[in-house]
């Protein structure tokens, strides 16, 4: 078996070969990393529809006159940013309403989480129930893709005293309700977030927030 055949088998099956043909540990590590990258969502993302039309329009315009073309390009980018800024402002306003409800609400509350720029189509509702053992949280998630192999989602509560994890999940069985548990209260830890985490043994947050109830 050649090294290329070994790599093809490893990429396909994820099982390192054994015996005299098996590569050394460093090579196996490289192959493992490469296989992990094939699951990376960024590696499969497609640019927005219509971008080519904007580019060719700017080129046509620039052919007509360089200064006009550059202005067009800047205007298109500015327009996209204005739309984006509007969306952020709406999210911020929604979060203010949510935080008012949460801080003034009863012990059992509903908290709405919005998708961030890392998961713009995602949303979730967290139903919080006070129990003798702690806070039971039912997180009803929609629009969040299953976490690829080698990664998972982690939920957190955050407040002035710090960050507390309240569970991990992957959604590979499809969208639905995730059961989370917290030993800290929403009053002390008012921010609820979900992050995307690599399976790298590092217990700290990756900072890649996909859902949040804060702007």
């Amino acid at each position: 078996m050649t090294s290329q055949e070994w790599l093809a088998d490893y990429l396909e099956q994820g099982r390192p070969g054994e015996g005299p043909d098996a590569p050394d540990l460093a090579s196996a590590d490289s192959a493992r990393r490469l296989r992990g990258l094939l699951a990376d969502p960024d590696g499969w993302a497609e640019p927005p529809v219509g971008l080519l039309a904007q580019i060719t329009a700017t080129i046509d315009s620039e052919r007509a006159g360089p200064a006009a073309g550059r202005d067009d390009s800047r205007r298109q980018i500015r327009m996209r940013r204005t739309v984006r800024a509007g969306a952020v402002a709406l999210l911020a306003a929604a979060a203010v309403v949510i935080s008012l409800v949460v801080t003034r609400g009863p012990a059992t509350s509903d908290v709405v989480l919005a998708g961030t720029r890392l998961a713009p189509g995602a949303s979730a509702t967290a139903q919080l129930h006070t129990t003798p053992s702690g806070l039971a949280i039912e997180l009803d998630v929609s629009g969040l893709p299953p976490s690829p192999p080698g990664s998972y989602y982690q939920a957190w509560m955050k407040g002035p005293r710090g960050l507390v994890t309240i569970g991990t999940f992957h959604l590979r069985g499809g969208p639905g309700t995730v059961e989370l548990w917290s030993a800290v209260s929403l009053a002390d830890y008012p921010a609820i977030t979900v992050t995307r985490e690599p399976e790298d043994g590092n217990p700290a947050s990756s900072g890649q927030v996909v859902l949040t109830n804060r702007p």
């Binding site: 990429l11 499969w44 971008l51 080129i59 298109q76």
Partner: protein, 178 residues
């Protein structure tokens, strides 16, 4: 269109040339922009800037010079420029966590992501569909067969062929020494 034909078409600066290069490389440019910026909107800005800058600089693409590394340099620079502008600008960034990593990925990581994306885009649509379902969605061959409504043997042969091709295109990244 082969790589030389693509570079020739682009070098003329024609709309057809730009379109052909966009179709071949826009996925890879978007991938590395996302890797650097972590934001689809900003990454789209970076793709736009990349292709416009490349078109403006197409005279510097010498005949016989491979196009992919040339475009990679322009794309990486566009993404890093936007990253720096965002870091210093008034626009709010992604909601931050205490442990948010703020450094852009290394040159090696970006180059690796670029080459992997190009290799994936070089697969046929059928091969790519199977590889995506297997690695991105985490499905088994049986599940893929069910999803695509094709016999499992077809999925296996497409998967086998696709991974052979990926190994041949990406072998240099894995540095496998059997």
């Amino acid at each position: 269109m082969d790589e030389d034909g693509l570079a020739d078409a682009f070098r003329t600066g024609s709309a057809e040339g730009v379109r052909a290069v966009y179709e071949r490389y826009s996925g890879a440019v978007f991938t590395i922009a996302l890797r650097v910026l972590g934001d689809r909107e900003l990454a789209a800005d970076a793709v736009q800037v990349t292709f416009l800058n490349a078109w403006r600089a197409c005279g510097s693409l010498e005949p016989g010079r491979p196009m992919a590394p040339w475009l990679f340099t322009i794309a990486r620079r566009a993404a890093i420029d936007l990253y720096r502008r965002r870091a210093h600008g008034p626009e709010p960034v992604e909601p931050r966590d205490d442990a948010t990593i703020t450094l852009p990925p290394s040159m090696e990581c970006i180059w690796e992501a670029w080459q992997i994306r190009i290799a994936l885009d070089m697969l046929t649509a059928e091969e790519r569909e199977v590889v995506r379902a297997q690695h991105f969605a985490g499905l088994t061959h049986a599940q893929i067969a069910q999803q695509l409504a094709v016999p499992i043997g077809t999925v296996k042969s497409r998967s086998h062929r696709a991974h052979r091709r990926l190994a041949s295109m990406l072998g240099h990244l894995a540095e496998v020494a059997a």
